[in-house]
Symmetry: C2
Subunit: 544 residues, 2 copies
């Protein structure tokens, strides 16, 4: 039996386009002799479709497109994820289902049982839980079919939730010959390894081989890494698709495979994820070119490299916008970087509009000493210039602030926070340096000085980030333990030997800057807990 | 039996402050001879606490504060909403519960059964459903206790959800003498009436009187209107608390009440809601003063009136920032309005920084005709000036765009969309006019000319909104049917006799401007479906 795992990159809501992609994949696979072609969770709608699921005409059209696909399965079979109208009255009107099609006939459907409702997932908003667990007789084999989360509880890999059912155990009792899992499981740094582990453990418990078909591609903030795979009943890896690109992984169940170890390349994967995140954000909306402010600092340097890889050097414009406080070194470093990347480089001094604002406001601010007002004026003047280039040339502005800065509020709203996409919103300062080192692994693309000099916003004379913040290593450690692990300030202070005062101050900074982050561009999610819809804290609150 | 419905305004996360408020209320009620003091849903934490609920130390502290309250109930009784740790292993670690305290003893808890997970509600993210339904013997009466949503399904007043249990019917079988519902039910224009209807129907079905204690106050986007009430077994209204303010409604069950009809004042309530929304956003964060751009148009005029009512005239600064395109009429109208309101009025012409930007960009934009770039430059220059006043004086910027404009993208990101709070984000253009008329009911506060002249952004010569948009009446009708009623463009076109092309164009505008709204300031929610967390559509999608 030959099974094709079609790791496709659908566009959310593009029912016609996704259907065409599914049909052309089925046709190609049929030609190559596939007995079954497997598509990801919600392949027809793209995942996550969010509130499109609440539009009745969207659900009707999904059902219509599914019928078009059905007739294409003559001579083969297909398993396709889609939102299915709940035929009964239930708490919710939909199931998150897999359609099982053989030879032009709909054999039936398998509904997702465990509905993730935590972090970025919100499936209880739309879906009813499936209840039935059964095996499907396909090609003489008894096959179990599960949708994503259904195999995750078994490994206790689900945060903040302890489902009261374990579908893996329910299926084990049925003694399947094979388990197929269709997923739209988003990337975060350790996720590909955790996912392999989940598959491996499920296969071992089920005592049968397991196939995972995962969505690839980025939709808004979420990046899906693919990494579809085949493992044997011992949980050993037999075959896997590449990450971060479309691929049809061909699995021949009758063939002998040599198991090989699961490996991932952390920095390379992170880089690829961000590249895919930018590329899909642009491609899927029909944008081609980007611009961003290049300061001579590490963040914008790394963004320049990622954007160049994602969009091609001809589509990248770096705007250097020096002020009276910009150092010569930064100016020089920025220039060298754009030469190394061979990208367009435009120089616009902010001096004249900045001075114009200062003059205009002087009579109103008389007697008040300079403060962050004047620093923000510079950042916002740069924001206006970036947005003017965006408006005039159709470039999408990339914002370059990193997660550690966003946590601390070390960014100017409507200034450097301007943009259509926050490339590094979920990348900590430490990871930014790791990415820079990885980018420079063969060739010095980012000038060494950018990696060596202390971080500075250069908004007043001789400013350094460390003037007003502790080292980023401390910020990052507190960030991880507070926003991912939910430790209390006391627990964090004890764990790391920091003073309670220091930790409480950082935690307070995280919370009081919630209002800023609420207005930041959507950021690419690459961690277990990003500042985005996966973390929903009130702006107005007095807990912290 | 004398019951006090304590319609309090807690601050989210302020466990100590809320506990103090609860305790002082209990003490006062005890003095006045109350047998029972009832507090709203999640009164201890404020509602909605959102992801604070995921912090273990927050939940521990909540339990600790509840113990402090318990000892204060000696000689009386209290029912208090709070998140309760699930003592068993369940899908989620919490229940949304009511603690029932009598004479210093915790009689027990009643867990919320129906967990709203739609629109702005996300309770399945945190809570496990309660299962038990029972009566409590208090003061010789058999009392049923429910939490908010538990009485709503009975009237089929719940959108996108059809719960499989109806607690009202379950309680009816137990034959209660009285039903007490604790709520944190947010305001929207028709909600107070719907809520009364829900209570009335529940009382009739239960064949017993019903007491509702609802939270009052604003938390982030949500405004809670209070309107706690007492109705008899015929569902007739016997007593009700005022809307939009704290109040203890005293109900004497042994007393004869004369039923009176439920009435609401739509425009007055909307005005009060927005006033409360601003006031609590400021008070609960410790802000005192606001500023905003006053253009001479209707939106900023209405915001000026609401802000003055909310914060006091001494805390309101209107910034008039004319450009070469500002009409004399607008300038004059803005001036008259600030005189009528007696608020601070500062004039800052944007001409010099605007010209400075034009000069700076000219060599880069050579040969390109003027377009929205230059319009946005003006709006963004104003945004910078507003933010400079905000930074220098600690004023929070109010943004003044209305819902119809936000829907159409008729606003400049980082320009007039700057702000800490979007006062009219969820108020349609039609409602803005209705508010203006209501504000002017006794005295011409808003100059008539502002109400009469056609809407214009005044960003180019003789510009009118109607140059690029259909009438707002059409926009508002499509908005309502598309985003609230989820009708398809076809259905909307047929319903109103509009051309399909027109409707599709407006619907497309709604979707392509999702990216802008994602970066708008949080707005006060006053409709059934606001552009906020209650409406979760992807930015990148190809359905529309």
């Amino acid at each position: 039996m030959i099974i094709h795992l079609a790791q496709i990159n659908p566009i959310v809501g593009d029912l016609k386009g996704n259907t065409e992609k599914i049909i052309s994949t089925i046709r190609a696979s049929k030609k190559e002799g596939a007995d079954l072609v497997v598509f990801p969770e919600c392949a027809l709608t793209g995942y996550p479709p969010e509130d499109l699921l609440l539009l009745p005409h969207f659900i009707e059209e999904t059902a219509f497109q599914l019928q078009l696909i059905l007739s294409e399965t003559k001579g083969t079979g297909a398993i396709i994820g889609y939102p299915r109208k709940n035929p009964h009255t239930g708490e919710k009107t939909l199931f998150n289902s897999a359609a099982i099609m053989m030879d032009g006939t709909l054999l039936g459907v398998q509904d997702k049982i465990l509905l993730p409702t935590y972090d970025v997932f919100n499936e209880r908003r739309y879906f009813e839980s499936g209840t039935e667990v059964k095996l499907w007789d396909i090609g003489g084999k008894k096959i179990g079919i599960t949708v994503c989360e259904d195999i995750w509880h078994h490994t206790e890999a689900v945060p903040q939730t302890s489902y009261q059912k374990d579908p893996v155990l329910l299926y084990r009792d049925l003694k399947p010959d094979l388990m197929i899992n269709i997923s739209s499981s988003p990337y975060s740094v350790n996720k590909p390894s955790i996912r392999f582990d989940v598959c491996s453990k499920a296969a071992q418990s089920l005592r049968c081989p397991l196939l995972l078909c995962n969505q690839v591609g980025a939709n808004d903030s979420l990046i899906f890494d693919g990494h579809s795979l085949y493992c044997n009943r011992q949980g050993e890896l037999l075959a896997s698709a590449e990450g971060f690109k479309e691929e049809v992984l061909v699995v021949d169940l009758s063939k002998e495979y040599t198991p090989f170890p699961w490996t991932i390349k952390t920095e390379e994967n992170l880089f690829q994820a961000l590249v895919l995140g930018i590329r899909d954000y642009f491609l899927k909306q029909g944008f081609k070119s980007c611009c961003f402010g290049l300061s001579g600092g590490i963040d914008s340097a790394v963004v320049a490299c990622i954007a160049t890889e994602a969009l091609g050097k001809e589509n990248v414009t770096a705007l250097c916008m020096p002020s009276r406080y910009s150092s010569e070194a930064s100016t020089h470093d920025a220039k060298v970087l754009t030469e190394n990347l061979d990208i367009r480089n435009i120089w616009v001094s902010i001096e004249s509009p900045f001075q114009s604002f200062l003059d205009l406001l002087e009579p109103h601010f008389e007697g008040k000493p300079p403060d962050t007002t004047e620093e923000n004026l510079q950042a916002r003047t740069r924001g206006i210039i970036l947005m003017a280039f965006s408006n005039k040339y159709g470039h999408v502005v990339l914002s370059t602030g990193n997660k550690s800065e966003m946590a601390m509020g070390y960014a100017t709203l409507y200034g450097d926070m301007c943009g259509g996409l926050g490339v590094l919103n979920d990348v900590t300062k430490r990871q930014v340096y790791e990415l820079a080192e990885w980018i420079n692994r063969d060739k010095k693309i980012i000038p060494q000085n950018i990696l060596d000099k202390p971080p500075s916003a250069e908004l007043k004379p001789n400013q350094k980030d460390s003037d007003s913040l502790p080292e980023y290593a401390i910020v990052d450690a507190v960030l991880e333990d507070y926003i991912v692990n939910h430790l209390s300030p006391q627990q964090i202070a004890e764990k790391h030997g920091y003073s309670l005062e220091l930790v409480e101050d950082l935690v307070k900074k995280i919370h009081i800057n919630e209002y800023k982050r609420r207005q930041s561009p959507p950021g690419l999610r690459v961690s277990e807990r990003a500042f985005s819809k996966g973390r929903q804290f009130p702006i107005v609150q007095k807990w912290v």
